[in-house]
Symmetry: C2
Subunit: 336 residues, 2 copies
DNA sequence: CTGAAAGCGCTTACAG
DNA sequence: CTGAAAGCGCTTACAG
């Protein structure tokens, strides 16, 4: 038995328009107190909940925000998703979570879903979406905010984290600890995140007049496994050529640490390891991980506010959040 | 410039009805091939995406599923959320993620949102929602599936994991390893999950004629911190009275392990530790964690299929999934 | 202070 | 094979 505004109107002996006004608190003060009370009582008694779709059809907001992330089962994005859900709730939005699973087709399918649902805005983390697709959406009046990845040519506001500066600090921290030969494991290098982290590493070495050595730089893809394997190679090829490893993600850092430990070496006394992201587990790991914090909540709040206060010229907004070094116990001073 | 079906109809020189038929592949074969082709071409050219809300208003499905979890920032639920998003995609649904953050008011607010959005079904994990609220929803025609927590009196199908059997196996595993004094740390004990895990532990001890000792049983709340603290107490009060700890969650197990390690003892040679959930990090932790796997994907698939194939009598369905012991390296044979 | 009527963007019998 | 018309559940000028 699904109730409509007409049913409530009939029961209350008023018109649907009046019920609507009560619900939306329109004509406040102009309405007879007793009419309002009666309608309110009946709504409550019968458990009537207005149809948001009908409302939205009339031009009102859907109060839904769509989110597209690259992966739903990776730690960092999971924390991001959780944070978005919470911030959306605080701002009065429901959250439609979509994961492209790094698949362009799937991503486009989700974009269509979000468009057809007429969400009030979309937060996108994507390294493969075309500028054209983003601009089409914006031209149709759907606010889009890019997070973490820039899409050249897209006329959408963007919220970034200063990964470059974060990586610079992390590397400098290792250098200050006395490390001169610092290995680096890249993330999925098609991403801006990975490129920026790498850029910060290089810059720090150069500022300190340290050599950038190709054999101390390996490709990875942000996963535990890739961190483990890259470290395995380092350890096999040049075990005495480095004293620290900077990993582009915490997960890779865990892989690196595990690999080192399994070979009977110690972190941080034999090798220092530093990560990036500061996921939940970094504080729990043994040794706890020194890493660079990505301010998920801040990013989310800015992105949602951009959607909430969307204006035509808002398209050009660019916001950059700070990434802070979090010192724990996976790095030690060089003694020799 | 937002397009409607009328715009497309006008451009194509046909009626909205015809456009609708093309989109929904109605009257297949009865339609002139060239009309169909033309309409399709124009839809594509102008990037027209039908309004799902208008469709739904006419009585069609929204293709949206709502999910209510207790916490959005806890590891196990994050994996659950990620899995649900993926399974929903596979089954053709968008996913509206809601987190009650263990707050009854917030949970009810979300229930209203999901109802107002007229989702095709709701998956609920809740220890506090009233049967009345669930039944109201069902009577309004919204399919509900309860997961993990039973709500007595609710006339909704339910999908459970056999935590009792899982805990029984885990405890038996420790006993078979030679452990006779096994400590236990409960989860948030208002949950069925925690109670069932505890019940399995007790049953295993009794089957093996081992004493159930109150001082070896402590309260916890599933978190890392509570696992750490309970272990701290065990170690202080009766360090020689137990040789293994069974924790009601992996997170608590990590806390236990960390606490033991910080006191200079070893896991598993001094104390064996076993967890529950098998979250991603369990395989990565050092030592890797022996635990009981909760089949998230299976649970999700069953729940979504129940929604998809909803019938009146489906309300009585009950499905119980198996929880399997996953042996890793945090438990060892007793030597003394 | 309140109601009747139009209309949001669709789909679907009903005609033809 | 296709169109005109009604209606899904709301809100909002427009009247009164």
């Amino acid at each position: 038995m699904k109730l409509t505004i007409k049913d409530i109107a009939k029961i209350a002996g008023v018109s649907p328009a009046t019920v609507s006004r009560v619900i939306n608190k329109k004509n406040k003060g102009y309405m007879k107190k007793e009419t309002e009370q009666k309608v309110l009582r009946i709504i409550k008694e019968f458990g009537y909940v207005p149809d948001a779709r009908a409302k939205a059809l009339r031009g009102l907001k859907t109060h839904l925000i769509g989110v597209i992330v690259p992966e739903a089962l990776s730690c960092a994005y999971q924390e991001f998703i959780g944070t978005i859900v919470n911030v959306c709730y605080e701002r009065g939005y429901g959250t439609l979570i979509c994961s492209s699973e790094n698949n362009a087709k799937r991503e486009l399918a989700y974009v269509r879903v979000l468009e057809s649902q007429r969400v009030d805005g979309i937060i996108i983390i994507s390294e493969r979406l075309k500028a054209q697709a983003v601009n089409d959406l914006i031209n149709k009046g759907i606010p889009i905010v890019l997070v973490d990845e820039d899409i050249p040519g897209a006329e959408a506001p963007i919220v970034l984290t200063d990964y470059y500066e974060g990586a610079l600090q992390a590397t400098q921290y290792l250098i200050d600890l006395g490390h001169k030969r610092i290995a680096f494991i890249k993330g999925r290098h098609t991403t801006l995140s990975s490129q920026e982290r790498f850029r910060g590493y290089i810059e720090a070495l150069q500022r300190n007049s340290l050599d950038v050595e190709d054999r101390l730089i390996k490709a990875g893809d942000f996963t535990y496994k890739s961190g483990y394997e890259a470290t395995e190679t380092f350890l096999k090829e040049s075990p005495d050529d480095f004293t620290a490893i900077f990993c582009s993600s915490d997960l890779m850092a865990f892989g690196a640490i595990r690999c080192i430990q399994e070979r009977g070496k110690n972190v941080p006394t034999d090798y220092s390891v530093i990560g990036f992201d500061d996921i939940y587990f970094s504080a729990i790991n043994n040794p706890s991980l020194t890493t660079v914090d990505v301010p998920f909540r801040k990013l989310t709040e800015i992105a949602i506010d951009m959607i909430k206060n969307w204006t035509e010229k808002g398209k050009e907004k660019r916001s950059i959040c700070e990434a802070k070094l979090v010192v724990r116990r996976s790095c030690a001073k060089m003694v020799k």
